[in-house]
Amino acid sequence: MWRFFMRKKSRLFLLIVLLLQLLLLPALAADPWRIVVQSSPLRQSPQVFGKIIAPISYGTEVDVLGERAGWLQVKVAGKSGWLHKTAVARRSLSLSAGDKPVAVAASKSELSLAGKGFNQQVENAYRDKNAQLDYAWVDRMAQFISDEDQLRQFVIAGGLKGAGHAN
């Protein structure tokens, strides 16, 4: 395998691939970073209980400035702060039938970003097909959200780590 790369002709091959890459680079420009969870808290510091600056909703484009230990330093909606990297991914805009880019009006149930396969429409079709399934408790448990302060107080009161001092 190494000998392949040592031959003169193979250098030519490499050069050609290199050139192609450079030529195609603009076309291969990556999609922008976007929030890919329902809502992600933009925090003042890269900490799990860092003070929340603002919640950022699904689809919002973010400008990534740096990374530290699983966190991304970003600029979004005119604010600077930190997001956990599991909340963002590269995504392109969804295209309408007429191939015109559609502004991301992302209502939570619509998921109008380009992605793959299983979406709300598929869930709806699946539920129509399997009418015996009851999603009531699934929807209900999805609301079991302790708010940020409640969770922070719980951690502190239990002598656990990560939430610092009570604010």
């Binding site: 691939v17 290199l18 192609l20 890919v36 429409q121």
Partner: protein, 302 residues
Amino acid sequence: MQTKALLCLLMLLLLAAGCAEMTAMTDIGSQIAVATGQLTEDQAASLKKTSQAVEKAFTDITIEQEYFIGRAVAAEIVNRYRPLDRQAANTYLNLVGQALARVSDMPETFGGYHFLLLDSDEINAFAAPGGLVFVSRGLLRCCPDEDALAAVLAHEVGHVQAKHGLQAIKKSRLTDALTIIGTESARQFGGAELAQLTTAFEGSIADVTSTLVNNGYSRTYEYQADQIAVELLRRLGYDPAAMALMLRKMQGRLAGDSRGFARTHPSPAERLEKVLDNPLVNQKHHIVSARQMRFSRALKGI
């Protein structure tokens, strides 16, 4: 020297362009190489297969799809087991569980982590992809304190973080689904496409549910979840020794039981042996009184 430099530069550029582009690049490069007599057709074909294999791993399931798969699996669980509608207990479960999820390597999922008690005497717990986690009353009754409950929930969070549920989905289901998609997912799929996607979806749900409820995960996955659990306990400040305590309790309660945990997990003895390798676990468990009081209060009557 010149060749080596070119090679390095090429590798760097390929990496920069990303994996998807890599296949395209490999393809073009291979075609040229074949044309100029550098590679045989066979070599070119095998190069292409390798780079494609890298792209089509289970990690191809996006965070949004994981959410829908998880919801459907959760619907299967609550249709098999009756949820326990006790607000205080469920709130408490969510506080412990969400705190653990917060310190995991995957703190954010599309819909977030949510926990629900099941009204069953079976000793069992289920983690659906995306963070919907269920714990039976029977398992809760095995927990002597909050740290032990945290050990149970951390283990489930571990399954979600490591995407064990998604890995149960047979590759053939995903290949079917992926041939339908393009870059426009939330567009309205036409009748035939939607039917195909729904079938692939149904198959995926069946794969995951069957693993959770019937077969259980492999030993490897269970040990992995245990390892992650110990780490999460440590990060949040719970006592990792509670993991050993919990497994010993289960060992006692499960003796002779062929339902639930006994059927779907390796024996507590085997898990205990593995987890005791960690010095943090192999210690005397210390109970924190502040946690003990709220544990008793929240789970009174359960």
